[in-house]
């Protein structure tokens, strides 16, 4: 049995003498409000020690109109008495009760009207109605009719009759410890030793207190953090770079032709700002126009400086990694960057104009396409994805290129990222003389699967309730 509160004990001890009483009486004896006593009784009732019966008493009150009728009789009664044999309607109209009484009499079929003459029907009587008026009863339809007519009003009073059960009585006879109980211990009670005499209040351990919410890292940030840790473990150096990039680093240095559709205003956020081109940009220009000193043909046409100078919101973090490689052309370089990138997309549940991208690059003497597959397999395995496969793909700045797919139980093969080896057209003009393996993936895609989101916007415009309820440690199986 759940623990009795101090108040329940006091109530039962009182009831041991009273056996049963109404709440106000008990309230007087216990020095509490009747409401509190009822509450204690209900708690004791849950334990089978007392009963708290709700007794509803109905009362009828006469309205002013009702009070008048009680004296004079109902209007129909008054009028009925007034009707003499051979009466005509015009006579009756003189009576003050005519307006209401005549209608009632006709409705009840107590009078017969022929032309202008009015006669009582045989045996006509309003006694039953008068009785209902004098002694109203809740179940009498006539009483209800009087309420409807505004002659009577019904009112309800609720009383509680509280009684002790045999179980309660047995328990009460054993006696209770009626010392006042102590909630929070005070400093004085602890140091003085007073605590030894105290009756410490017991708590119901099955009852949850008011919830408290810890400060927490965002679940999406947690996934980003997990990827970051995996890459640090795999020996990668972390990069951080600007959101605003020159078209030169975002596109041109990556051998993206100046008329490439991805560079159009519909797909990229352009800014009015421009930045001067870095030293050595002529090599990039030559590569675009004729393939520079490599076996490439280049794109042909004329490469325009002013297009390369224009600033954009980076469309990929590759703009950051390519600058890192250009500044650090000596092998080995193993680096990654997780950052926000921007695409001018119409925003809907699965497309945002800004999202996190993860990108990794490996530059070293003798690294191969096979090594790239190996890094990807390792990364996805560490993320929890057992099945990983690769298929040919196309990215403007890598050759060969591939897409990585992972197997997710219940969904199937899902594309998780793209990869490839930077084209020589990208590396040669920047003085990078070793192959560069590069791969990227959309972080939000994994987040969406893991957190079971239907709308990516939820990551950035989150409901606080969702953040509070998403546990820091989630069980993942097969990467999800």
């Amino acid at each position: 049995m759940a623990e009795l509160t101090q108040n329940e004990k006091r109530l039962l001890a009182t009831l041991e003498k009273e056996m049963s009483a109404e709440a106000p009486r008990l309230a007087g004896l216990l020095g509490a409000t009747p409401e509190a006593v009822v509450q204690w009784a209900q708690l004791a009732q849950e334990k089978g020690l007392a009963t708290a019966d709700r007794v509803v008493a109905r009362e009828f009150i006469y309205t002013d109109e009702g009070k008048a009728y009680l004296e004079k009789g109902l209007p129909e009664t008054q009028l009925l008495r007034f009707i003499q044999p051979g009466a005509v309607v015009a006579d009756l109209q003189k009576h003050e009760a005519f307006r209401i009484g005549f209608g009632q009499l006709r409705k009840k079929g107590l009078v017969k009207v022929e032309g202008s003459s009015v006669a009582k029907t045989p045996g006509s009587s309003t006694d039953a109605d008068e009785n209902a008026l004098k002694t109203p009863s809740p179940d009498d339809p006539r009483t209800k009719e009087l309420i409807r007519r505004g002659i009577l009003q019904e009112s309800e009073t609720v009383r509680y009759l509280i009684a002790i059960t045999p179980e309660g009585l047995a328990l009460a006879r054993k006696g209770f410890d009626l010392r006042a109980d102590t909630g929070t211990l005070t400093r004085d009670q602890i140091i003085s030793g007073e605590w030894k005499k105290l009756n410490l209040r017991r708590y119901d351990v099955t009852k949850l207190p008011k919830k408290t919410f810890p400060g927490k890292i965002h679940p999406y940030q947690r996934i980003i953090g997990e990827m970051r840790e995996i890459l640090l473990e795999m020996g990668f150096e972390e990069l951080y770079g600007g959101i605003v990039q020159q078209s030169y680093w975002n596109f041109d240095a990556l051998f993206q032709p100046q008329d490439h559709p991805a560079r159009e205003m519909q797909d990229t956020f352009y800014l009015r700002e421009t930045l001067p081109l870095p030293d050595g940009y002529e090599k990039v220009k030559a590569m675009h126009e004729c393939g520079g000193d490599t076996s490439s043909t280049g794109w042909g046409g004329v490469w325009k400086e002013e297009k390369a100078e224009q600033c954009v919101l980076r469309t990929h973090t590759t703009s950051v990694s390519i600058q890192h490689l250009a500044m650090n052309p000596n092998p080995p370089v193993k680096a990654f960057c997780i950052g926000r990138v921007y695409r001018r997309e119409t925003i809907d549940p699965t497309h945002l104009a800004e999202f996190e991208q993860l990108e990794g690059v490996v530059m070293d003497e003798g690294v191969t396409f096979g090594n790239l597959l190996g890094i990807l397999r390792e990364f996805y395995h560490r993320m929890g994805f057992e099945g990983v496969r690769f298929k040919p793909s196309y990215y403007p700045y890598t050759e060969p290129s591939l897409d990585a797919e992972v197997y997710i139980e219940g969904i199937g093969w899902i594309e998780m990222g793209g990869a490839g080896i930077f084209r020589e057209e990208v590396t040669a003009p920047l003085g990078i003389n070793y192959p560069v393996l590069a791969w990227g993936l959309g972080v939000s895609r994994i987040a969406m699967l893991r957190l079971g989101l239907k709308d990516l916007r939820y990551l950035h415009r989150s409901d606080v309730e969702f953040l509070r309820k998403t546990p820091a440690l989630r069980h993942t199986r097969g990467g999800i």
Partner: protein, 546 residues
């Protein structure tokens, strides 16, 4: 992305195998099968392979990949004897012309649809929406050679496709749906490109619309192909792709004389590549013979020249082969990505976190310890949120995107605090107290750096709470600061302080101004705090740190 419809019966006939074999392998040459229907499949191909934008091109590649027919496909071209002149006045307008005669076609509604769809895919992938290349296909028997590509007055009249009445070229740009779509390519030129025959009948107004006279129907037997543009290579590729696809379908191709040169030749180009370079790139040991075999599987001509060299003939339709590595990718595809040895590289390296992210992680830890919940708002926002709601002046370094998608995404954030207040607004109906923080990038002019901000809202939130939190954070990250009366209008006067460190303002804290609360429709006081992470020791570029 180009999604190509592949009718099974036609594809099976051209590929000479069953659809299951084709569909099982088609992804391995570089495609995504979008949908498999009753009698056709819709397959997406990458933009670097416009030669795969037709069932004929796909069949040609699949025959090679499946070993049914390997090596270089060769196409015969005989001269048609037809001449096509180019007006020198087009030099600054649309100078490049490519053309061919395609004889013996047999069209039905489906195959007309198929060639129209190839034409549209090429307009997209090679033609950059017709600006770089535009293709016209005509019934050759409706006109008489020679043909002339001229710069014409804009008042020239003819009946455009799908119309019955003559219109001037200016009217076409104004009224014809295609005219309106593509007007921007030509509208600024004084003269317009036009193709006419010996009788001055109009074939086409490139890149806008053909004439009704040369409409292709199921009765068309012979085709005149015109391709105009601004880039010689791209125009050539488009001609080659259409001609070879039609040749695969059974037509014969004839060349046309343009300025004394017979075009097209449909001849391959030649590239000599190194076997060892390919082996090194892919991470697999190949012999010259194996590599040549793999290249032939991808429909290249390949002859070994000693142990390390292969002379490769690149078919004229392979526009994507710009560099030797493009061939190596085809070798890898023929070899099979799944058969490559996938081992991570052996070089020993040490992982190294970036100091900015190390700092950010530390700030996250401290805020969490103070009971704050992390949120990650968007970085694109509006002047209204950043400044107007905050009663603040516009940041002088705010960046506006030139073509925003909506009025809610016009600028890159320069501060984080307004976004947290917006966040509180979104969560007005949620239980209090709410304590939120964010750490992230802001942009000032073209410079990106990190800030952190926190807000606390509940009926007793006040200046002291903001101060205590700011003080706790700065103590934990060893920032020696002082607080000074602030004038920031986002906060209540007398309940706001600037945070000064090393003589510079690095942030602000206090109690948010009720007018700002009204603007964000908030009903309880908010204690808030924001600071610049560049003030944290260890932030790259901070004096005294590496």
């Amino acid at each position: 992305m180009a999604v190509i419809t592949l009718p099974f019966r036609y594809l099976e006939r051209l590929t000479r195998t069953d659809k299951k074999t084709i569909l099982d392998k088609i992804a391995f040459i570089g495609s995504d099968v979008e949908r498999v229907g009753e009698d056709h499949a819709d397959v997406e191909f990458f933009p670097d392979r416009p030669d795969l934008f037709s069932p004929e091109g796909v069949a040609r590649a699949m025959r090679g990949y499946l070993g049914i027919e390997t090596g270089l496909p060769s196409y015969k071209v005989k001269p048609s004897g037809i001449q096509f002149t180019v007006d020198p006045a087009l030099a600054d307008i649309r100078p490049v012309l490519g053309a061919a005669v395609i004889r013996g076609v047999s069209f039905d509604d489906e195959s007309i649809q198929s060639i129209m769809s190839l034409q549209e895919s090429l307009h997209w992938a090679v033609g950059r929406g017709r600006s770089k290349v535009a293709i016209g296909i005509h019934d050759l028997d409706a006109v008489r050679p020679p043909f002339h590509y001229i710069a014409s007055p804009r008042t020239r009249k003819f009946v455009p496709l799908d119309y019955t009445e003559e219109m001037t070229m200016d009217e076409i740009l104004e009224k014809h749906p295609k005219g309106r779509d593509y007007a921007k390519i030509v509208q600024d030129f004084p003269l317009f490109p036009l193709i006419v025959d010996r009788d001055d009948h109009v074939l086409s107004f490139p890149p806008i619309i053909n004439g009704e006279r040369t409409r292709v129907t199921i009765d068309t037997k012979n085709i005149l192909l015109d391709t105009t543009g601004t880039d010689r290579r791209a125009v050539g590729v488009a001609v080659n792709i259409i001609c070879t696809a039609m040749a695969e379908a059974g037509a014969t191709i004839e060349s046309i004389g343009i300025g004394g040169v017979e075009t097209p030749t449909l001849a391959p180009s030649v590239r000599t590549v190194s076997v060892s370079e390919c082996s090194r790139l892919l991470g697999v040991v190949l012999t010259a013979a194996t590599m040549a075999e793999l290249l032939r599987k991808m429909r290249f001509g390949a002859e070994t020249e000693g142990a390390d060299r292969i002379m490769v003939q690149v078919p004229c339709y392979r526009a994507d082969i710009m560099h030797d590595w493009d061939l190596f990718e085809d070798v890898a595809i023929a070899f099979g990505y799944d058969k490559l040895q996938d081992l991570p590289p052996k070089t020993y390296t040490v992982g190294k976190p970036h100091p900015v992210q190390v700092n950010a992680a530390l700030v996250r830890e401290i805020f969490c310890g103070l009971g704050y919940l992390e949120v990650m708002p968007f970085t694109l926002t509006s002047e209204e949120i950043l400044y107007r709601n905050m009663q603040r002046l516009e940041h002088p370094g705010v960046l506006r995107v030139m073509h925003p998608i909506s009025i809610e995404n016009t600028v890159v954030r320069t501060d984080l605090l307004p976004l947290l207040l917006e966040f509180l607004n979104l969560n007005r109906h949620r239980e209090l107290p709410q304590r939120l923080f964010t750490v992230g990038d802001v942009v000032d002019s073209c410079l990106t750096y990190q800030q952190a901000a926190g807000v606390s809202t509940h009926p007793e939130a006040d200046f002291s709470e903001a101060y205590a939190v700011a003080d706790a954070v700065f103590n934990e990250i060893s920032v020696d600061y002082s607080a000074k009366e602030s004038a920031d209008p986002a906060f209540i006067e007398g309940r706001r302080a600037d945070i000064i460190a090393a003589g510079k303002k690095i942030g602000v804290f206090g109690e948010i101004h009720p007018a700002v609360l009204n603007a964000f429709e908030l009903e309880h006081p908010v204690a808030a705090f924001e600071f610049d992470l560049r003030a944290v020791p260890g932030y790259p570029g901070t004096p005294g740190t590496p």
